[in-house]
């Protein structure tokens, strides 16, 4: 997995970039306009991607679908007589067009309809009408962040790094659990405990597995970063330039927020996130510190379960709550990103199980100076909890690791906790 993991990530990224918008990229469109409302004209700037031809007779979709003479067309647009009133146009396609093409057609049809409406219902010029048509912008601005530095989209960076922590904790936490159970079942633990303290054995195992996780993480990161640089410089040179992406231009022109979001999502959510929005200088140190402390915090639970379970499969039932808490971190991340001032977000920020994720979201969205004290405070809380739970785990390891063959239950755990 050391090499295969990052290769799979890069392969996934490659396919996402290469085939992210897999629809048909060029279309011959037949426009059935029996009332001749569009006057055999759609746009004054024809493109190679979409070729329009007009048909002045009524056409239904079955006839289009089955008729031999229409086979050369990829789609047909039904312009009904009341289109200026009901503002609805139907486009029937044989193969779904790409998002780019969809937006281009929508943009051109909307513009043409608008021109016809202006001519039909107003005495205004087209330019004047479009000037008046501008929608009212309502900006919601946080008084504590008037420059809108806490950008929601940047929260995704935090979610991404937080997820990486959770992924590695889940993966290597299970390694700790399985390794401890295995040591118990093959009895090697008694030989080891004759030369080291049980707490040393616990820390040794946690640190050893943690270091292997860290090495793996670094190797993955190096591979992925090198791969992304190669993608950017040599393979997807165009896709990283937003000016090459027509969809954004159309959507922006027609002031359609949904379209704008949809069209920009391909650019924003991934490319912009990776190459422009990540402040590596701030987030990487925070990520590594919280990765380590969270790992120790969660490792205490996995170690305790492994050491107290009666068999290798016995501890599985106790792993479920731990994984639920790991999943809660994702929810905490979203809450923190969208409702950063809510009570729940504040609670998650100081709750040790979700602290790493919320801190990373906070760091990625907020200005670093304002959050520094909070980050240090959360780190202190997490450190204290990691220390306390490692102490508890050490006691459970000491009292439980030589016992096997039993069925683990809460009363046994309580008994071993009370025992010195």
């Amino acid at each position: 997995m050391l090499i295969l993991g990052p290769l799979l990530i890069l392969l996934f990224t490659y396919f996402l970039l290469k085939f992210g918008d897999q629809g048909k990229n060029s279309l011959r469109v037949l426009i059935a306009d029996p009332a001749n409302l569009f006057d055999n004209k759609i746009t004054s700037h024809p493109s190679q991607a979409v070729e329009y031809l007009f048909y002045d007779t009524y056409l239904d979709y079955e006839e289009f679908r089955d008729g031999n003479r229409f086979k050369e067309f990829d789609a047909f647009v039904e312009i009904n007589e009341k289109v200026l009133q009901n503002k609805t146009v139907k486009l029937f396609y044989r193969e779904s067009p790409s998002l780019d093409i969809k937006m281009k057609i929508k943009f051109e049809l909307e513009r043409r309809t608008e021109e016809r409406m202006i001519a039909e219902f107003t005495d205004l010029s087209i330019d004047r009408f479009r000037q008046l048509k501008q929608p009212l912008n309502v900006d919601f601005i946080n008084v504590y962040d008037p420059k809108n530095q806490a950008d929601n989209n940047r929260g995704w960076v935090g979610i991404f790094f937080g997820s990486l922590i959770l992924f590695f904790i889940g993966l290597f936490g299970m390694t700790i659990l399985r390794s401890t159970s295995k040591d118990k079942s093959n009895r090697v633990v008694e030989v080891i405990l004759a030369s080291v303290r049980s707490s040393d054995l616990m820390l040794g195992k946690i640190i050893g597995i943690g270091l292997s996780a860290l090495v793996q993480l670094v190797i993955w990161s190096v591979f992925v970063v090198i791969g992304l640089v190669i993608f950017k410089e040599f393979i997807f040179t165009d896709i990283f330039d937003p000016s090459n992406y027509e969809g954004i231009q159309y959507a922006s022109d027609i002031k359609n927020d949904i379209l704008l979001n949809a069209s920009s999502s391909r650019y924003n959510a991934f490319i912009d996130l990776i190459f422009h929005r990540i402040n590596y200088g701030v987030i990487l140190p925070v990520f590594f510190i919280f990765f380590l402390v969270s790992y120790f915090f969660y490792a205490a639970f996995f170690m305790a379960i492994g050491a107290t379970s009666g068999s290798e499969s016995d501890g599985q039932q106790f792993v479920i709550p731990i994984f639920c808490l790991l999943l809660l971190s994702f929810y905490a991340g979203f809450v923190d990103m969208y409702y950063p001032d809510s009570f729940l977000a504040t609670f998650f920020a100081y709750f040790p199980f979700t602290a790493a994720m919320t801190v990373l979201v906070n760091v990625s969205t907020a200005s670093s100076a304002s959050g520094l004290v909070q980050v240090l405070f959360v780190l202190l809380i997490l450190l204290c909890h990691a220390f306390i739970f490692l102490k508890i785990a050490a006691r459970l390891v000491k009292n439980g690791i030589l016992n096997s063959g039993h069925r683990l239950n809460l009363s046994t755990i309580w008994l071993w906790l009370k025992k010195s």
Binding site: V189, V191, A194, L402
Partner: protein, 309 residues
């Protein structure tokens, strides 16, 4: 010398050891005996500092047992365990390093022991591909690889064929000769008779007896003598008369016999010898001491009777 003083340990309010005190002299092999559940493994774990006693103390050469003594102890647990994915030499080097050896010394010692047991060719073999007997040998080496002063062996002979049993027993005798102190927990009474100097018998979490093997056997003597002679049995019966009871006869051929007789009343070895002299042709006459197996069973039975009363 290891001195165990008033050690007690209980698990979930059930006593595993109650006020156990015993002394293990240096350069001796001490047999820790007792039926299953007597508390042997608990005591061994306490000496190895794997678990802590609830009460009592252990001293090594007059000093309280601490973690500093880890390097002086070697331990072969009853339930053997090694990292199966590791190769033999790596496993042994790892254990030796845990016991305080440098990596260089550990490697040298491992080489030495593998050669001594004639298993150098297994050096790079993974533990999981070893047979049970082979793994036992590796486990034994893991206990002695760091050349401990004190060696604690829990059932060291189980899983070995007679050849390897002999090899291990010889090795233990050699270690004793080198001045090592060995604690041996076993149910193999023949080996106890053969190599142990002193034994402690645990029963139901208490130490019921501690003595040398010879004294324990002597204390349990039943006045039985083994006589070898040639002649006829009628002459023998006349010679024994009513003072000794004949209860086992073995014909050796050529009119030769081995008999076991038991004395009655206060009759002694000398009485038996004088009774037989001149009546049969004596080859040998010796007192038959009970085996450790018999001593063990006798002591346990006596303890059970005491408990019932």
């Amino acid at each position: 010398m290891i001195t165990i003083s008033h050690v007690s340990k209980s698990f979930n309010r059930k006593a595993a050891l109650e006020d156990v005190s015993l002394t293990i002299e240096s350069a001796q092999i001490y047999g820790l005996l007792g039926p299953n559940g007597a508390g042997k493994t608990t005591l061994i774990r306490i000496i190895n500092q794997i678990i802590q006693a609830d009460r009592g103390s252990i001293q090594v050469d007059g000093k309280l047992l601490t973690e500093n003594h880890w390097k002086d102890f070697g331990y072969l647990p009853e339930e053997r365990g090694l990292y199966k994915a590791m190769c033999v030499s790596d496993m042994l080097v790892f254990i030796a390093c845990l016991r305080g050896l440098t990596r260089h010394d550990a490697r040298n010692n491992v080489k030495h022991w593998l050669a001594k047991f004639d298993i150098s060719s297994w050096s790079k073999t993974k533990i999981e591909s070893l047979s049970k007997g082979m793994a036992q040998k590796v486990q034994f080496i893991a206990a002695v690889v760091h050349q401990p002063t004190y060696l604690i062996l829990d059932e060291p002979l189980s899983g070995f064929d007679p050849i390897n049993v002999d090899l291990i027993l010889s090795e233990l005798k050699a270690m004793k000769a080198e001045g090592k102190t060995i604690i041996l927990s076993t149910h193999n009474m023949k080996s106890v008779e053969e190599i142990c100097d002193q034994v402690g018998l645990l029963h139901k979490s208490r130490l019921i007896v501690e003595d040398t093997v010879h004294k324990l056997r002597e204390n349990q003597r039943r006045g039985e003598f083994v006589v070898r002679f040639s002649g006829n049995m009628i002459a023998l019966a006349n010679a024994l008369w009513t003072e000794f009871e004949l209860f086992e006869t073995l014909e050796l051929g050529d009119n030769r016999f081995q008999i076991i007789v038991k004395q009655r009343g206060e009759r002694s070895f000398e009485d038996l010898a004088s009774n037989l002299m001149g009546k049969i042709k004596l080859e040998s006459i010796a007192e038959r001491l009970p085996s450790m197996q018999e001593v063990f069973l006798g002591l346990i039975a006596k303890e059970e009777e005491k408990n019932e009363e």
